[in-house]
Structure formats: structure tokens, C-alpha cells
Symmetry: C2
Subunit: 218 residues, 2 copies
DNA sequence: ATAAATATTTAGACAAACCTAAAACATTTA
DNA sequence: TAAATGTTTTAGGTTTGTCTAAATATTTAT
């Protein structure tokens, strides 16, 4: 597959919402930042190659073969993201653009060895799951910390309240996007939480807990 | 620069023998595995961009600007080669193809951090020097071990005699291409050598020493 | 010095991936 | 259910990087 073909396949995969829903020409165009007419051309070519099912005016989705390719690309993209953050000191929000390039490097050995070098990570820095070599992975969902059971851990991926006071609080307590958080304990009395973050235990109120989104494996 | 343009620039650089000699259309074609007519086209384009000096029928070489680009590419290529060998366990002869792709990834931060991650290496797994961020590097030369002064170290890059008995000897003594060898001592009496390889000292005869090529910095 | 051999460029085409403008189809709205 | 609106495809072009075949320049050999 060429670099362009791969980017289209990934777009169709991501728009397919995990269940390979048929997606529109326009939505693909928006995702790959091109014009709908270009998508029509490409999608015909991918259809000829057996990568997608395409019915004119009706939309497009991935074949089995296409899904396999998509999962390999997602695996590569996310492993590179882990590498950039863990080994090269990139931050959460700097990795995407570079991974977007690195995902197209062709070498099976490279990816296998990278996976090993990173200690076979299960999730990327954004909390998204990394498919195994055979394409399996756990789905993840985004939940408010307050709705997550004790003993579970997840990755901080967003805030509900983004007011300066709240952000300042997070900053002061060194809670940042991309951090792994373990729910240690929940206090019956006031609904407050004990959480572990960066190897330290801290205590947060019910209010804080209801404004932090984590991504956890189902 | 596009991937293709970069590969042409590298080819012109490598054919230029370090002193930026003017090179022929045919030689470039051979190196980038294309036809001479394609080289003519590309070289005109690179000339318009100020990357090369081109005189029809006379040949092509790099401008100052072109040399800068070439050195950046060589730097990237060789840093990735070190990464593949040192961090991912690739062997000497497996890295080139992958580095040929990785060298085109665009991110200055990526290369700076990779350099740091690798501990600012001076040479790649083939004994070739890695240009600094500003483009400086020591030239290296290939010499028979026998002609190298005591105290110098280099990287094993080839053999003069490739007969089975000699190769078997190297194998038995765990001397492989890509290994770093330090000349510890030379025996006046029989011209034999003490060398250090893989943190072990071994003794080799004058005959062995006159059939092993090392790459050393000038 | 001339002819033969070789190297290089030009001319004309092609595939990939994109574009704009116009036509065809589908959906919504009145 | 017909018009209006929005979506998708088609038609026709462009750019990049490649190719073959033919023309031209340069080098080598007689
Ligand atoms: Mn990409
Ligand atoms: Mn990610
Ligand atoms: Mn390359
Ligand atoms: Mn090398």
C-alpha cells in the first residue's frame, strides 16, 4: 500500500466506529483533508484492490483484508507514540504528527522489535489500546473518574470543567493529560477519592472526581 | 524536499566522494535505480530549487545549500542505523533498508532526541561518521589492521582474504563485521598484535592482521 | 581528423494523487 | 409529490516522478 492509500484506510477505519459502519465520501474527505471527488477516485481503486466494499452513492467500509491492514497501521501508529513519549521525552500532544509519518515505515521486524523494546505496551499515551500483532485489543471507554470502580486504573484524557480554577488545581497537584491514575479508595462519607498518580497517593474531593475524564479498558 | 528529491541529493552527495566532485547523469541513475532521462528531469528541478549546480552534458554537484541538506540526511540515516542496532537488536547488514525509509521522517525534535537517546554516537554500525547537527564530522578511512598504530580503535568493516579457513577463524574468535576493535599492542618480534574486542583481549598473528580491514577516524 | 561508440538530453506517454466545475443522484421541505 | 438542497460522481486538468525511443553531444578509436 502507498502512504496515501494507508491514510485513507485508516480514515475509513476510524470513522467506522469500531464496528466497521459504512461511511460517507464527505466524511472521509474531511478526515484525510482532501476533496470528495478525490475520495471517489481512491475508493474505487481500493475497491479494485479488495480493501474496501464500495457502493456508489451508498458509502464505503473495510473488507476483512482492509480491517487487517487498518489494525496493523493503528498498531504501528500507537507503538511509535509510546516510543516518542517513553524513550524520547515527547509530550502527550506532540506525538501525533510524527507518528502519522512513522506509521508508514515498512518493516515487520522493526515493529516487532519496537514492541519488545517498549515492553509490549497495552495502551498508547492517549489511553487508546494497541492492537497485538494478530489484531486483538481491548476496547476502551472514556468515563468520569467518579464513575470508575475502586481498583481500576486509567489514563487521564480530559476535563469536564475547564475553568481556570480547576485547571490551576490540576497543575498544582501535578495531574496532567496522559498520566496514569489508579483509583485506590473511595470514601463513603463524602464521596471523595484516594488516587495514585506518578507513584504518589493523593486525595481528591467528589467535585474534582466528577470533572476528570479517564480512559479505561472494558 | 520530497522523498525522491532527498534520495537524489544523497546519491549526488555520496558519488561526490566527500569533496563534492561533479558526477555524471548515468552514475546518479545507477545509484537511485532509475533511468538517465529521469535524472536529467530531476536534476533540472533541483537546479531550479538551488540545490545543485547543473551544466548539461557536463554533470552535476551540490550547492552549499544542497550539501547542508545532504549532511542532514546522512545524519538521520546513520542515527537511525545506530538505533536499530543498539536498541532494537538489528544486525549490521539488516539496517540499511529500514534506515533508507526512516531518514525521510520530518521532525527536528525527533532527531535531536534520538541523538540524545543514543548518547550522541560518533559513528554508525558500519564505521561511518555521523555528522553533528551543524554538519561537522571526522572523515574515516579504511585500513588494514596491520597498518594501524597502537592505541587506535576502529570498526571491523571487511576482509581482504575471504577464504573459508580465514572466515572460520574469525567466527571461532567471535570477530564480526561491525565490531569495534582497539589495537592494544604490537609485538616487534613477529609482527603479531594484541587487540581488544567485545571487552576481551585477544592475540592475533601478523597474517590475520594483514587481512582485516578496519574503519578509523583520521 | 573522422568514424564509431557512448553518454546525455529531448519528446512524448503514463500512473498516482490531487484539483475545479458540471452533472447526476438522494434527501428534505413545502 | 415536486422543488429545493445537499451529496456524490464524472469529466477534464495539473503536478510529480517515472518510462521508451529518438535526437544530439561528447569521447574514444582508427
Ligand atoms: Mn499517516
Ligand atoms: Mn494516540
Ligand atoms: Mn531513502
Ligand atoms: Mn551506514
Amino acid at each position: 500500500m502507498t502512504l496515501s492509500e494507508e491514510d485513507y484506510i485508516k480514515a475509513i477505519y476510524h470513522l467506522g466506529k469500531g464496528d466497521n459502519t459504512t461511511v460517507s465520501t464527505n466524511s472521509v474527505a474531511e478526515m484525510v483533508e482532501t476533496k470528495p471527488s478525490s475520495v471517489t477516485d481512491m475508493v474505487k481503486k481500493l475497491s479494485d484492490k479488495g480493501v474496501v466494499n464500495y457502493r456508489p452513492y451508498k458509502g464505503v467500509n473495510l473488507t476483512e483484508y482492509g480491517q487487517k491492514i487498518a489494525l496493523t497501521l493503528v498498531r504501528k501508529h500507537r507503538l511509535w507514540e509510546v516510543f516518542l513519549v517513553e524513550k524520547l521525552g515527547f509530550s502527550w500532544d506532540e506525538v501525533h504528527e510524527v507518528a502519522e509519518q512513522l506509521e508508514h515505515i515498512k518493516s515487520e521486524k522493526l515493529i516487532d522489535q519496537l514492541d519488545k523494546h517498549l515492553g509490549y505496551p497495552q495502551v498508547d499515551p492517549h489511553g487508546d489500546p494497541i492492537p497485538s500483532k494478530t489484531g486483538e485489543f481491548k476496547k476502551t471507554i472514556k468515563k468520569l473518574l467518579i464513575d470508575i470502580p475502586v481498583g481500576t486504573s486509567g489514563i487521564c484524557v480530559g476535563v469536564k470543567d475547564s475553568s481556570p480554577p480547576f485547571l490551576k488545581f490540576l497543575d498544582k497537584n501535578k495531574i496532567a493529560l496522559g498520566d496514569t491514575i489508579l483509583i485506590v479508595d473511595k470514601e463513603e462519607f463524602d464521596g471523595s477519592f484516594n488516587i495514585q498518580i506518578n507513584k504518589k497517593n493523593i486525595h481528591i474531593s467528589n467535585q474534582i472526581a466528577s470533572n476528570l475524564y479517564l480512559k479505561i479498558s472494558e
